[in-house]
């Protein structure tokens, strides 16, 4: 069996396990719905009191962020926690001797969590956002939207692997991983428009906007809310692709070295 066959089997097994923990799925859905409610109200209140020269409705702006991070936040969390959970259940040894490396295990976890969150997002979030008019998708824009989501997904696999490699060395980095995710969300413009940084730090916004994930969210807002294609989108996609490839390449190299080190230290099965 080739690598992709093993990856597929591991993804299916993860989804089977996720389905057995139904309460966790209910919590995930509840969490997202609460996010939507909170950000809708926040956006609406802020919009009535301040920002006048802002192109989007702030509630729409925030809800696209919710949609974006609904797809990647849970997958990141699940992936970073995967080693800890597998170790607690004592399953890593069996996976290793059956040719499922730590990298494969984590990538499979990211895949299966993506399937899980896409399903939740498509059932619970997309219809809500569609119904309240946040997302008005022109069908011709869908290939671009999917491309941007795909590149963000690749980038986030790399990020998740890199953070998990810290997990292999230092163990139980749950709080650090949460902090890192929080920083990523801030940098991506989840909580406020990145352009607002210029109010306090002139010129900083342009630099932050070059970060692949921030660029993706920025372009997705243009596409999803305004139905507009950014004039430099080809160049932007090229830069984002480069960032995603560098990120995942670096993550795979780091992770393979960490796996070897960990096998030498004798900590791999307990990670």
């Amino acid at each position: 069996m080739g690598y992709f066959g093993r990856l597929k089997s591991t993804v299916v097994r993860n989804l089977q396990v996720d389905l057995k923990y139904k309460f966790n799925l209910v919590i995930d859905v509840a969490w997202l719905i609460l996010d939507i409610i909170a950000f809708t109200f926040l956006g609406a209140i802020v919009a009535t009191t301040s920002i006048k020269n802002f192109e989007y409705n702030l509630a729409d702006f925030l809800l696209v962020g919710v949609f974006f991070w609904a797809l990647f936040g849970r997958a990141y969390d699940d992936t970073v926690l995967a080693l800890q959970e597998e170790a607690a259940r004592g399953t890593i040894g069996f996976l290793l001797v059956n040719n499922i490396s730590i990298r494969t295990l984590l990538i499979a976890r990211f895949f299966s969590s993506t399937v899980k969150t896409i399903t939740i997002a498509m059932i619970f979030i997309f219809p809500i956002l569609w119904a309240i008019g946040v997302i008005q998708v022109d069908l011709t824009l869908i290939p671009l939207i999917i491309t941007l989501f795909f590149l963000s997904w690749i980038f986030m696999i790399g990020v998740s692997l890199l953070v998990s490699s810290l997990n292999v060395i230092f163990k139980r980095i749950g709080v650090l991983a949460s902090l890192f995710l929080y920083a990523l969300k801030i940098a991506s413009g989840y909580y406020f428009p990145v352009e607002a940084l210029d109010l306090f730090f002139p010129g900083l916004a342009q630099s932050v906007l070059q970060f692949p994930l921030t660029r993706c969210v920025y372009l997705l807002r243009e596409l999803l809310i305004l139905g507009r294609i950014h004039p430099n989108i080809a160049n932007d996609i090229l830069m984002i692709s480069l960032g995603a490839v560098i990120c995942i390449g670096l993550a795979l190299i780091v992770m393979s070295q960490i796996e070897k080190l960990s096998a030498k230290w004798g900590t791999l099965e307990f990670y």
């Binding site: 069996m1 097994r13 399953t91 001797v97 059956n98 040719n99 096998a263 004798g266």
Partner: protein, 332 residues
């Protein structure tokens, strides 16, 4: 004996006998230390200067006291750990360079390995057959033989320790490995189950010409399944590596009879039994070569029991611990 390379594999040929056997496991000067301490700056020596070879179809028992590195050695062969020094080759594939190929050829079964307990037996076997590219039906005869076929749709969290041990074994066999590494797989099984498992492994070994590497404290298991024994000292160095039969023959007894006297027996009385013995605290151990000699000693002890000179006595077969301590004593 000479070594040669043929078709990329490593072989031993015996001069004049025209027998060629492939070297399956080749371990050379393996050293393993585990780092400890907050900054991993201290090292604990677990294995040192481990060198041995195993030919195709040969089965190895790894024996030694706690802290001798038995499980670490088995885990190195299973590629879970990598050695700090030395080399390990499985069918001429270096575990550093060809880890994936090596993993395709071996199965490692240990009570330390567990599975997702929320999944059913069927889902679990399907997952492992998926990643091993094997057929789940291949393992049905084994499952039927041990009665696990009735539990295919039960979650593993409801399984007893014995059933979990059998499930681990089923997963290990599902792969059709060339090398099966077993870490105390019979430890949690009752006598009947243990017998069934050993029988099955024995049959499988005969059918597939497996190479086994196992850790087990039961001499019956070692005697039935293994050709070679690797005796490890505490600290992880080799005390002996030899054929099982040769080692058993070197030990001058097979059974020992432990006798608890009411008051210390005089040397003259002990000599009158006509068997070698040793005094240890409040009891005496007699050593015998055969069951006939055991019966002979029992007759004499029953007389002493009736005369109320002794409190009780018990007889046991040669244990692997006995073997270990015998060779350790011989060495020192």
């Amino acid at each position: 004996m000479r070594n040669s390379l043929l078709n990329g594999a490593h072989w031993n040929s015996i001069e004049g006998e025209n027998i060629m056997r492939e070297i399956v496991i080749e371990v050379k000067d393996v050293m393993k230390q585990f780092p400890t301490g907050a900054f991993l700056h201290k090292k604990i020596q677990v294995l040192d200067e481990i060198t041995f070879e195993l030919e195709e179809g040969e089965n190895l028992a790894i024996v030694g006291p706690n802290g001798s590195g038995k499980t670490t050695l088995l885990k190195i062969l299973a590629t879970i750990y990598l050695p700090d020094k030395g080399s390990v080759k499985i069918y001429d594939h270096d575990i550093f360079k060809d880890i994936s190929k090596v993993r395709d050829m071996i199965s490692f079964v240990s009570p330390a390995l567990s599975f997702q307990k929320k999944l059913t037996l069927r889902e679990t076997l399907k997952f492992f057959s998926g990643i091993q590219d094997s057929n789940i039906e291949d393992i049905y005869p084994f499952l039927e033989e041990i009665g696990l076929d009735q539990l295919m749709d039960e979650r593993l969290e409801g399984f007893s320790e014995g059933q979990k041990a059998m499930t681990r074994l089923a997963i290990g066999m599902l792969k059709h490995p060339k090398i099966l590494l077993l870490d105390e797989v019979t430890a949690t099984l009752d006598v009947r189950r243990k017998e069934e498992v050993i029988d099955y492994i024995d049959k499988l070994d005969a059918k597939l010409d497996l190479t086994l590497g196992l850790i087990d404290h039961d001499p019956m298991v070692v005697d039935r399944l293994c050709h070679k024994i690797l005796l490890l000292r505490r600290g992880g160095t080799i005390l002996r590596f030899a054929n099982v039969s040769d080692l058993f023959h070197e030990i001058p007894y097979r059974y020992d009879v432990k006798v608890y006297p009411r008051k210390p027996l005089k040397t003259k009385v002990l000599d009158s039994f006509g068997f070698p013995y040793e005094k240890l605290g409040d009891f005496v151990r007699f050593f015998t070569q055969s069951k006939k000699e055991v019966d002979e000693i029992h007759d004499k002890l029953f007389e002493k029991l009736e005369a109320e000179e002794i409190i009780e006595f018990s007889t046991s077969g040669l244990s692997l611990e006995d073997m270990y301590f015998f060779f350790l004593a011989k060495e020192t």
